[in-house]
């Protein structure tokens, strides 16, 4: 089984059906045959799981020197001199026999089975089967189908006992909730009593099941394969950027399926991404712009709505009075257009794609980067300073799990509370919130420590220090904002400590939202311009290519919201952003929305913030527009359009282009490709990106490309000169023979061809002081769960009821100390506000801390948080 | 013999005379229209019967009103005038075909008692008159003249349409009609020779008596010989553009030929003109060869019997016309021209010679047998010469020598 695509070092020569085939070393016979063009039928074998040889469908006649014998080709590796015959009489008899057996009890459900038309059992029976069955007796009967979770239905009659689902659940997902029960003729797949198959990855079993035994309840009976049109795209539910295929019928998205690309997701999808297909066509999708009249939002014409926005922007008192929040919902092209509008036309640098719940842009863009493959490189050591990846970036969790379980990767976890990956980590500590910087400094220090830091015992710290020192090769750090109840400064401090102590460390900054990385790359953050360049470094570069650039560095989201609350913001644009729900400090967000003079919300569906906006523009959502997106690694891949947007909703880049046009600047964008061309020719980190390059790399392209950038720019300029000369020649009919040697021009000539500006690099601040410890208070930990009250999850009918809600999670020791009973009611009081809710004991929460899950129904965690404080301290009282 | 002339117009022309003429005009006009309508219906029904089908049976009893329905339909159609058409001539042309059709009927005696030596006149409001609109001295030549004008109508229709197919069609049509008019005229010559008068009234009178062996009536059918009758029948079909000589109108050949660009009532006029001409031509044949209204008046008013005989003969001829239409396939254009020029014209010419010889021989009391032998010999030599001429020209044509 391939690990992470190792290049073939040696070849093994085998003979398949009389032809010589060079297999890779250690390659399974079934894979070698398929690569050579001979398809061997199989049911239980899956390329991404260990083979078990259960179905016996891949039996072929193999002669390894002792005479021909039937062997399961998925279990044997190619050995030199092997002779394989996949078409002999015996092989055919075996295939006939296996299929006849499988069909003995397989119900004649094909017309009503969701898998019909795309069913490996059907296809292989047609291609390899006997044609007639001798079975005339009665087949076995079981109640069908039974729901084994909220999302997956099981039909036990159809199951051919191939074990793919159990192997996936156990080996890949780590949730062994589904298994064979009974034996003999009664063997069936089932879940444990009272434990449904509520894994975050249950949808994958539906996709890999070779028959219609496991089906998705959201897709049940919706369509047939011949109704569907398919496009490949990239999932936009988190920033891992799994490759998916979108199936639609009659202009409605029906489902998503995972596509296997090696560097990212290996064909797996999490259930949130997979079943968010229902959200595309949800009720409540905005199909026309809305303008506020009094208390309500009235549908308006596009020309009126855009004019309101452009007038408001034109009348803003200064560029600093404009603020733009958002960009993670947008594609790279949308983001570039908005960045150009904001920074190049309006001249404001108050742009931030994050909602105060991530990391500063310079950290994300400037730290030396690692790809997921590099993080999971066999034998390495990974330090996780990240949120619970199983909740926020599930497929990244699958990759890390695989690395830890199969590739001897050492995981060291530092998180505010235990996570889904804790059981896989070699070491896992939960420091006090706000003190992780000090802890990490001790972990990378040159010598052991002798004191407890952040609530962790010195011995433990030293043990981890030893692990880190013993790391094989450069350390990899997965860096993210684990808890929004504390500021990002602590984890940035930790990163600074690591890179100072070990300069060869590589980071994978995991920001959660879909294209937030792409937004930052495209300059949707204060102090940066498109292409991962700092404002000051790239000022000249962009001044010659855009109309202008902002005069000075602007505000991030927290700054914009504070300015808005103070009344200094005339126009607040929310690009798919919902500060009221997502900004950690709810009070500040509410005051900001009230304080800003005009609030413009550009979104696909009404959310809490857009309900308070003055202008709502209907945007096209996922699967309704084409473009590119960038994932956590900085890998760019395409998103495709599969269906038409509802009503007159438009892509965000169109809105930016039109607003710019009203303000007097023509962008000249008439398609996402135009924008991609501009991105590929102007933005430093993305130079060389083109639609052809993307088409040639279905796995995506990690940027920046390893190109000689300066020469590339010179090439581009030469091309332009040649084109212009050719045009002049055709128009005037005279040859152009005098060229100004543009490339030799210098700044004195007034023309800046210039070399590309350098990319952002991370500069550490001074180490932070540790917040003083108040032993009567608890420090709040605010984490996320995969299913929450986010708009897309709530729009998907099968996912909406899965949001679990939250209670206050406290360490049992603290519960005793407080004298509160398990599941009692408590009042939580912070400097801002208070909440009353139930309490649950959780040993994964460290002592002195209490955890809440954000964005769940009825518990408004944001009311407790004040972003000005480095940590949120709360007092807990019995209610 | 009288030299013709309607007694009505011999005396003073007063109001009664005018009214009688008007009455005849209206009567003939109405009769022709109704006759055309019924002729079309008859043709459609009879041809259907020959083709084992039913024909029109929905509009009116037995589909009699089908033509009326079609006419009304034509009125409601869009009247197209092609941009390249020569407009005045375009509008004139249908009338040039229709009007002669009406005018042709003016010289035809359609009633009157010719039996027992009566001259077929009737008393109307105190005036004696023939039952025909006019009886000019030129008589049958008027008919020939009118059919020549009809050729103008066809030719101008095609040319003025400003389009290729109509032009081609009209050229062919005019060539066809002109060629067969010669044959037509020559047969009429034979009749005139026999009856000795051009006036139609006189012709009828001369046929009213007894002919051969006092047994059969003195019809020109027999008196002038069967040949002019046959030639006239064939030539009249060609003159009328009826099948089997309808290559002019054949849709497989020329779309619609001269009436391609016509629509609505103008087209209807062509259509009507063709059938009206058929009726009239049948009437002329009846007059020339079958004695017209002449026939025994059995009981009741004699003039009515004249009409009845006239109608019987005309309808019988129309029956033959339609029968021929339903049976014989279309003649190819070159075959058509061959037939007209190389067969009918020499034949009728020859027959005139024979007839003339016969008449002179009878007057001059030549020896009958010698006359017949020499006549036959000359006939045969003439025939032989003609054949030789045709063969030579064909051989030369095949060799490529332009003659």
């Amino acid at each position: 089984m391939p690990e992470s695509e190792a290049p073939p070092i040696d070849g093994v020569s085998v003979e398949i059906n009389g032809h010589e085939v060079i297999a890779r070393k250690g390659e399974l016979l079934i894979d070698a045959a398929e690569r050579a063009g001979t398809y061997i039928p199989r049911f239980c074998y899956h390329e991404r799981m260990k083979p078990v040889g259960m179905c016996r469908m891949c039996l072929v006649e193999v002669d390894t020197g002792r005479g021909p014998a039937l062997q399961p080709s998925c279990m044997i590796e190619c050995t030199p001199g092997m002779k394989v015959d996949t078409e002999s009489e015996i092989t055919k008899k075996a295939q006939d026999g296996v299929l006849e057996f499988l069909l003995v009890n397989h119900p004649l459900d094909c017309p009503v089975c969701d898998k019909g038309g795309e069913c490996p059992l059907q296809d292989q029976t047609m291609a390899f089967g006997p044609g007639e069955s001798r079975f005339v007796e009665e087949k076995r009967h079981k109640e069908k189908p039974i729901p084994i979770s909220d999302l997956v239905l099981l039909d036990r009659e159809r199951c051919i006992l191939c074990d793919r689902c159990t192997r996936f659940a156990k080996e890949v997902a780590g949730d062994p909730l589904i298994h064979f029960i009974n034996r003999g003729n009664d063997t069936e797949i089932n879940t444990f009593p009272d434990e449904p198959f509520s894994s975050y990855f249950s949808g994958n079993t539906v996709q890999i099941c070779p028959v219609g035994a496991l089906t998705a309840s959201s897709y049940r009976f919706k369509a047939r394969p011949w109704d569907l049109d398919t496009t490949e795209s990239t999932c936009q539910m988190c920033s891992v950027g799994c490759r998916i295929s979108i199936d639609s019928s009659r202009d409605e998205v029906q489902r998503f399926a995972g596509v296997d690309i090696d560097p990212v997701n290996w064909g797996w999808l999490c259930d949130k991404g997979r079943f968010s297909s229902e959200a595309v066509n949800a009720d409540g999708r905005l199909s026309e712009p809305l303008l506020r009249e009094g208390d309500s939002l009235i549908p308006a014409r596009w020309s009126d709505a855009i004019r309101r926005v452009s007038d408001a922007l034109a009348k803003a008192s200064s560029p600093q009075a404009i603020g733009i929040i958002g960009g993670a919902r947008l594609t790279n092209e949308d983001n570039y257009a908005w960045a150009k509008l904001a920074k190049g036309v309006l001249g404001t640098d108050n742009v931030d794609a994050q909602l105060g719940d991530g990391l500063p842009a310079e950290v994300v863009l400037g730290l030396p980067a690692a790809t997921i493959d590099e993080v999971c490189a066999p034998g390495g050591t990974v330090l996780l300073l990240a949120p619970d990846v199983k909740e926020e970036l599930p497929v990244l969790f699958l990759r890390l799990r695989h690395a830890a379980v199969s590739d001897r990767v050492t995981l060291i976890e530092i998180s505010p509370r235990t996570t889904g990956i804790t059981s896989l980590a070699k070491a896992s500590v939960q420091p006090r919130p706000g003190e992780v910087g000090e802890l990490v400094r001790a972990l990378v220090a040159r010598s052991n420590t002798d004191r407890d830091i952040a609530g962790i015992a010195a011995e433990e710290i030293n043990a981890i220090r030893a692990l880190l020192s013993a790391a094989n090769g450069p350390l990899k750090v997965v860096l993210g904002r684990a808890s929004v109840a504390e500021s990002a400064d602590a984890v940035v401090d930790a990163a600074a400590a690591v890179i100072e102590a070990r300069p060869d460390t590589r980071f994978l900054p995991v920001l959660r939202r879909a294209n937030v990385r792409g937004a930052l790359d495209m300059g949707m953050a204060p102090g940066v311009l498109p292409g991962r360049v700092a404002l000051e470094d790239a000022r000249e570069w962009y001044e010659s290519r855009w109309a202008k650039v902002p005069a000075s560095r602007g505000l991030d989201t927290e700054g914009i919201l504070r300015a808005a609350a103070d009344g200094r913001i005339d126009v607040l644009v929310l690009l798919g952003a919902d500060p009221l729900s997502d900004f950690p400090d709810q009070d500040l967000a509410a005051r900001a929305l009230t304080g800003a003079r005009t609030v413009v919300s550009i979104d696909t569906i009404l959310n809490a913030s857009s309900r308070r906006a003055d202008v709502v523009l209907a945007a096209a959502g996922f699967a309704e527009k084409a473009g590119t997106t960038t994932n956590v690694e900085g890998r760019v891949n395409t998103v495709s359009q599969r269906v038409t947007p509802p009503g007159t909703a438009r892509a965000d880049w169109m809105l930016a282009t039109e607003i710019a046009s009203r303000l007097g600047v023509e962008f000249g964008f008439s398609s996402p490709q135009d924008i991609l061309d501009e991105i590929g020719s102007i933005t430093p980190a993305y130079l060389g990106l083109s639609i052809e390059a993307l088409a040639a790399s279905p796995d995506g392209i990690v940027l920046p490309l390893d190109l000689p950038v300066d020469e590339l720019v010179d090439e581009i300029i030469e091309e332009i000169i040649k084109d212009v000369a050719a045009e002049i020649e055709t128009e005037t009919g005279e040859p152009v023979d005098e060229f100004i040697d543009v490339l030799a021009m210098t700044d004195d000539d007034g023309f800046v061809a210039g070399s590309t500006p350098r990319l952002v690099s991370f500069v550490a601040d001074a180490p932070l002081p540790v917040p003083p410890l108040d032993s009567y208070a608890f420090r709040l930990i605010a984490t996320r769960k995969l299913y929450d009250q986010g708009t897309i999850v709530q729009s998907a009918t099968s996912l909406a009821p899965l949001a679990p809600g939250t209670s206050l999670l406290v360490n049992p020791w603290d519960l005793d100390r407080l004298g509160v009973a398990e599941s009692g009611r408590v009042t939580v009081r912070s400097s801002r506000s208070s909440l009353t809710l139930s309490v649950t004991s959780d040993p994964g929460v460290p002592r002195g801390a209490a955890a809440l899950v954000v964005s769940q129904a009825d518990v408004r965690v944001g009311e407790l948080i004040d972003v000005g404080d480095p940590v949120t301290e709360i007092r807990i009282e019995t209610a | 013999m009288m030299t013709g002339g309607d007694p009505l117009l011999a005396g003073q022309i007063d109001l009664a005379v005018v009214l009688i003429v008007l009455l005849k005009v209206v009567g003939i006009f109405a009769f022709l229209l109704v006759a055309t309508m019924l002729m079309i219906w008859f043709e459609r029904k009879f041809v259907s019967d020959l083709q084992n089908r039913v024909g029109p049976n929905t509009a009116g009893p037995f589909g009699v009103l089908q033509t009326l329905a079609d006419g009304i339909k034509f009125f409601f159609k869009e009247d197209l005038k092609p941009a390249r058409a020569e407009l005045r001539v375009f509008i004139l042309a249908p009338f040039l075909t229709v009007v002669p059709a009406f005018l042709l009927f003016t010289i035809i005696p359609f009633g009157g008692d010719f039996s027992n030596g009566h001259d077929g006149s009737v008393e109307l409001f105190g005036h004696t008159t023939y039952l025909q609109l006019a009886d000019p001295a030129i008589g049958i030549l008027f008919a020939l003249a009118m059919s020549s004008i009809a050729v103008y109508g066809v030719m101008l229709a095609g040319w003025s349409s400003g389009s290729k197919y109509p032009l081609l069609g009209s050229v062919r049509a005019s060539a066809q009609m002109v060629s067969y008019e010669a044959a037509l005229g020559l047969s009429i010559c034979a009749v005139v020779l026999t009856t000795g008068t051009l006036s139609t009234h006189e012709m009828v009178v001369s046929q009213a008596g007894s002919g051969w062996g006092n047994f059969v009536p003195n019809w020109n059918l027999l008196a002038a010989g069967i040949v002019p009758f046959v030639v006239f029948m064939i030539a009249s079909q060609a003159e009328l553009n009826r099948p089997p000589f309808d290559v002019v109108e054949a849709e497989q050949e020329l779309v619609g030929s001269y009436h391609t660009e016509y629509s609505s009532i103008r087209f209807a006029l062509f259509f009507v003109a063709e059938f009206m001409n058929s009726v009239t031509m049948a009437a002329i044949i009846a007059t020339l060869f079958l004695g017209g209204p002449a026939g025994p008046a059995l009981f009741g008013p004699g003039w009515l019997w004249g009409m009845i005989w006239f109608l019987v003969k005309t309808i019988g001829l129309l029956f033959i016309f339609v029968w021929v239409r339903g049976t014989v396939p279309r003649v190819r254009y070159d075959q058509l021209m061959d037939l007209g020029w190389k067969v009918l014209i020499p034949l009728s010419l020859g027959w005139i010679l024979v007839l003339a010889t016969f008449h002179v021989a009878r007057e001059q009391n030549w020896n009958g047998i010698i006359t017949i032998v020499i006549g036959a010999a000359v006939f045969l030599i003439g025939y032989g010469l003609l054949k030789f001429a045709i063969a030579t020209s064909k051989a030369r044509r095949l060799e490529g020598i332009v003659d």
Binding site: L108, M126, G129, P130, E138, W226 | -
Partner: protein, 228 residues
């Protein structure tokens, strides 16, 4: 007779008895038994619909004129026997070419064609026949819409095509009736020229609630694939 013989030939055609015209639409020429006309959705003898919403007809239709969507049967009010029924079933007769591939493809003999093809509508909306219009009524007869020209006898023969061509091609099943009963008619007799050695009545009462595995003739899906 030469040229003139032809005239007698045409004259001989005169006569009412020799006219071959059919006065359509007052009288119609008799339609062959398996003429392809308007479709109907059949029902079992107990009234349940045969259509299981499997979309095989839509998939095979070369004119793409059928739109089907399946849905789960309500447990207390099932429309069809089994899990799935045709929730949406529409045929667009502006596109239908009456090839009857859908009749061939249907696994439950739900869709068959009647002999009535004289239905002209005056607007496009009428052209799209919904399930309510296609399903047979409670007597098993096709529904008669206002613009359709049904003649006596035409509405009783709606599945002749299917009964003429089934059962499936395996030689073992020749002569054995292989179709299920229809509402209002029970098990219909086979086509005239076929021999019925064994009519299956008792076994067909159970129209296979979950699967057709009960049948030991003719409906084995296995024989659909591959081997003949």
């Amino acid at each position: 007779m030469g040229y003139l013989g032809g005239f007698l030939v045409s004259l001989r055609q005169i006569g009412r008895k020799q006219r071959v015209t059919t006065q359509y639409p007052k009288e119609k020429a008799p339609k062959p038994a398996r003429v392809h006309g308007r479709h109907v959705l059949n029902r079992y003898e107990d009234g349940m619909e045969k259509c299981i919403g499997c979309e095989l007809c839509a998939g095979v239709c070369p004119a793409k004129c059928i739109y089907v969507r399946g849905a789960d049967n309500e447990p207390d009010a099932p429309v069809s026997p089994g899990e799935r029924y045709g929730y949406i079933y529409e045929i667009n007769y502006l596109r239908c070419i009456h090839c009857d591939l859908c009749v061939e493809a249907c696994p439950t003999e739900a869709i068959t064609e009647s002999k009535m093809f004289e239905f002209s509508f005056t607007n496009r909306a009428d052209a799209i026949y919904t399930k309510a219009e296609l399903v047979v009524d409670d007597e098993g007869l096709p529904q008669k819409l206002p613009w359709e020209d049904w003649r006596p006898g035409e509405d009783t023969q709606t599945s002749a095509w299917m009964r003429a061509t089934s059962p499936s091609g395996a030689a073992n099943f020749e002569g054995i009736v292989g179709w299920s009963g229809e509402l209002g008619y029970g098990i219909r007799a086979p086509e005239a020229a076929q021999d019925v050695k064994d009519a299956i009545t008792a076994k067909h009462d159970d129209h296979g609630h979950d699967d057709h595995g009960h049948d030991d003739h003719g409906h084995d899906d296995d024989s659909h694939d591959g081997g003949h």
